[in-house]
């Protein structure tokens, strides 16, 4: 099984999502497994269950391959 660091690096290189922000007309890229995104997901959690689900989703993405 690949290390978390190796997987995170691979995700960082290959799987950044890009979406069009209709309000600004800009293309917004983000890597859902980046430390910033992880912290934002945890900060957005309103309780332990939401935080746990966010962490599970992050690890699912990291270990997907």
């Amino acid at each position: 099984m690949p290390s978390l660091n190796a997987s995170a690096t691979a995700q960082n290189k290959n799987q950044a999502k890009v979406e069009k922000d209709l309000a600004s007309g800009k293309l917004v890229a983000s890597d859902p497994t980046s430390p910033q995104a992880v912290l934002a997901a945890l900060e957005a959690a309103k309780n332990w269950d939401q935080g746990r689900e966010a962490l599970k989703e992050i690890f699912r993405t990291l270990l997907a391959d």
């Binding site: 960082n12 290189k13 290959n14 950044a16 999502k17 890009v18 979406e19 069009k20 007309g25 800009k26 293309l27 917004v28 890229a29 983000s30 890597d31 980046s34 910033q36 995104a37």
Partner: protein, 144 residues
């Protein structure tokens, strides 16, 4: 010198170039559903296609970012200029931005992709969607 090309007759994509055409090579191409053509032109899948069944140089395009590194956080941005050379350029060109299709309107063969911003550190690659018709080097923008 004679070159042997194999191409997909459905899409016109040039797939292989060979300087010899052994029976085994021809058989392999036919098994794969490819058409084999002879030509005195040195052509590679990067430079030519067989759209319409004839060897044709790909239309040259250019993707030119104003910067190849941006700061994540959403404030910094990069703009990729798009150009298609030649007469009668298309009215638009579809690009793939990390795989997501984005149409760019062109005026006299020139236009620009919507600004790219990044919320987190990541790599954004931009390339032409129709790589059979157009030849343009992909560009990468690194968000740090």
């Amino acid at each position: 010198m004679l070159f042997y090309h194999s191409y997909d007759p459905a899409t016109g994509e040039l797939l292989e170039l060979s300087v010899s055409a052994t029976p085994e090579w021809r058989a392999l191409q036919e098994q794969a559903g490819r058409t084999v053509a002879e030509s005195q032109t040195y052509a590679t899948p990067e430079t030519h296609n067989y759209l319409g069944g004839a060897l044709t140089a790909k239309r040259a395009g250019a993707l030119t970012p104003d910067k190849t590194q941006i700061t994540s956080g959403g404030a910094d941005q990069a703009v990729v200029a798009v150009a298609v050379a030649g007469e009668d350029p298309p009215a638009s060109l579809t690009l793939l931005v990390n795989g997501a299709a984005e149409a760019v309107a062109l005026t006299h063969g020139a236009g620009s992709l919507a600004p790219i911003v990044a919320q987190t550190p990541c790599l954004v690659t931009v390339q032409v969607a129709d790589s059979i018709t157009y030849r343009a080097e992909p560009v990468a923008i690194q968000a740090v």
